[in-house]
Amino acid sequence: MEILLSQLFNGLSGGSILLLAALGLALTFGQMGVINMAHGEFIMAGAYTAYVVQGVLGDAGLSLLVSLPAAFVVGGLLGLALEALLLRRMYHRPLDTLLVTFGVSLVLQQLARDVFGTAGVDVAAPGWLSGPVEVLGFAFPKTRLFILAIAVAAVVVLSVLLAFTPLGRRIRATVQNRALAETSGISTRRTDRTTFFVGSGLAGVAGVALTLMGSISANLGTAYIVDAFLVVVVGGIGQIKGAVIAAFVLGVAQSWIEYSTTASIAKVVVLALIVVFLQVRPQGIFVVRTRSLA
């Protein structure tokens, strides 16, 4: 029982990392039809932002808090540049966006190697995040609780943004009927740009969270991009709530299967389950025609 609960927490925590990596993708892939292979490199850019900010500020606690908005802006600006320079020329051609953004991801990786070197770098976690904390008699790493909190906060902010703000209304209108939105006086160009900025900014935030977990190197993004796409596809394209459910289900499934088998076998089993699931329900957990977007 104790193991079951502790694995449940490990799974939720793994799921929150998946979710952070996938949330921005759910927005740009789901709502705009852009397959952004460079999303992983935006995550990497967020991680390196945390490294640079810590180098400048020194103090680990302060730099973490500054890094989160800074990485959002860095990721967002990269996304904006990508959208303005390349993607806007190829909306409605998803396969072309896949190729182009894959090229961009390779360029960004090499750029990171040239700027930061090939060896991995480290961002120190602040003292108040080190070690475990006792919850209901279990010891949970504080960093993982923190990442869980960031993921929950990101989902809440994004949901509120989509449901209750003028921008959210414009985004939803553009997704549901671009032509009608346009004739209603919505600038879909501006909406596209803003959506891409927010989606890519979330990748930057995910990058900062990942610095608490593992290594920061040029290929950081490649470790997460496939899992992030899985979450988006399983959740149902364009569905934030689908992505949330898919991320946590995949995270918990991985950790439970891994406990009784091994990490390699758990990966295989989870992938096999996804294949079976997509046979039964190719559109994912939620379908886009349910008009709710958040």
Partner: protein
């Protein structure tokens, strides 16, 4: 893959029996060509570029002190691109087209296994600088990194001496950790040490929460770590965040050197033991000179590590063999190899003429707060290489 291609290849006595056509080496002029074959690109570039730098340093030093047998070395460098097949192709090119006298390089066991048939069929020489899983020896390869009885077995002796009665094994899911863990389990069985668990993570795995949970629950006296690459960072961060410490449950690693400590974050790994044959902190005139020369050539922030030192040493050992043989011809060098020594930064090393490995002193170090590694335990004298673990009764049946 070529993983199996070299298995069972042992040193035979037919050295110089005229096999192959690798005899196009031209020694008539004032120079002689040698080849460096390292991954300058791809996933292994991080590690192998440092080896290339160390080799280049040795070549420059040898040239400025008069060369080998009076001939200046001309270095031809090729990129193995982190692909075993590319290593095999480039090795063939260096030997057959460029006619180099010897090749220095390789890192992963799969790159070595892929090159081995090329060197054997052309009867050429490879100097391989990285610790590996043992159970191999070829008359065409000189192994200047540790074999298992110079690194893993001493590490186990160290843990036993410190009172470890139980172990937990964590490794990456490929050939080196699996083979190493077979050896560890055989040792543990013979020495009354309980193996409480054995976990493998795919290469590049980054979520270690479940594995660390299992390690924590098993509550062994120590963890033996054969993880490779980035996985170490995620593992040590998770380990620390789960509240585990080097004092409560030390994690002994065999593939983390000075280079890797910075990326893991010193704070996450300080105090943990590692096993190698060389540390930058070794206090000897040879090492002080090596470290100073390296920093002068590549920048004061650069650190030196075991594979770099073994690569640097390998070039001097080849020089020693050639000068003893008074010839660059491979059969002559092979014949002269036994007993050739070098005052290396790690201490005196000597080539074993039978299995082409070198005698090395085993060192267990602890990672200090400055990110450097400080010797905590030493075997005291060089350990003779025993790649097939023939002199260890408990290892009977391992080499198959």
């Amino acid at each position: 893959m070529g993983l199996l291609a070299g298995c069972g290849a042992r040193v035979s006595d037919d050295a110089g029996s005229g096999v192959g056509g690798g005899t196009c080496v031209d020694t008539s002029g004032s120079t002689v060509k040698i080849g460096f074959l390292n991954s300058r690109s791809g996933t292994m570039a991080i590690s192998e570029n440092t080896v290339y730098n160390a080799l280049k340093l040795a070549a420059d030093q040898i040239n400025s002190s008069g060369g080998v047998l009076g001939k200046q070395l001309t270095v031809l460098a090729e990129d193995g691109a982190s692909e075993p097949t590319v290593f095999a192709e480039k090795a063939e090119k260096l030997i057959r087209a460029d006619c180099v006298a010897a090749v220095f390089g390789g890192w992963t066991s799969s790159s070595r296994k892929a090159m081995l048939p090329v060197f054997e069929s052309t009867n050429a020489l490879l100097f391989y600088p990285v610790q590996y899983e043992g159970l191999e020896s070829s008359k065409n390869i000189f192994y200047t990194g540790a074999t298992t009885n110079q690194q893993i077995v001493p590490a186990l002796d160290y843990l036993k001496e410190k009172g470890a009665k139980s172990l937990f094994l964590v490794g990456s899911d490929y050939v080196f950790p699996q083979t190493a863990n077979k050896i560890i389990k055989a040792y543990a069985k013979a020495n009354g040490i309980e193996v409480k668990g054995e976990e493998y993570a795919p290469l590049g795995h980054t979520d270690f929460s479940t594995i660390v949970s299992k390690v924590k629950a098993a509550d062994a006296d120590a963890v033996f770590n054969t993880l490779n690459g980035d996985s170490n960072v995620a593992f040590f961060k998770e380990y620390k965040n789960a509240g585990l410490t080097a004092e409560a449950m030390p994690v002994l690693s065999v593939s983390i050197a000075e280079e890797e400590v910075g990326g893991i974050g010193v704070g996450n790994i300080v105090g943990q033991p590692v096993a190698w044959n060389y540390y930058q902190t070794i206090d000897s005139p040879q090492n002080k000179k090596f470290v100073a020369d390296f920093k002068a050539a590549y920048g004061p922030a650069k650190v030196t590590s075991d594979p770099m030192e073994a690569a640097y040493t390998s070039l001097y050992l080849w020089k020693g063999m050639v000068e003893k043989a008074k010839s660059f011809a491979v059969p002559d060098v092979q014949k002269a190899a036994g007993g050739v020594g070098f005052e290396a930064p790690e201490g005196t090393v000597t080539v074993n003429g039978d299995n082409h490995h070198i005698a090395k002193t085993a060192l267990i170090g602890k990672i200090g707060p400055d990110g450097l590694i400080y010797t905590d335990w030493t075997s005291g004298k060089p350990i003779e290489p025993d790649p097939y673990l023939k002199s260890y009764p408990w290892a009977a049946g391992l080499s198959g």
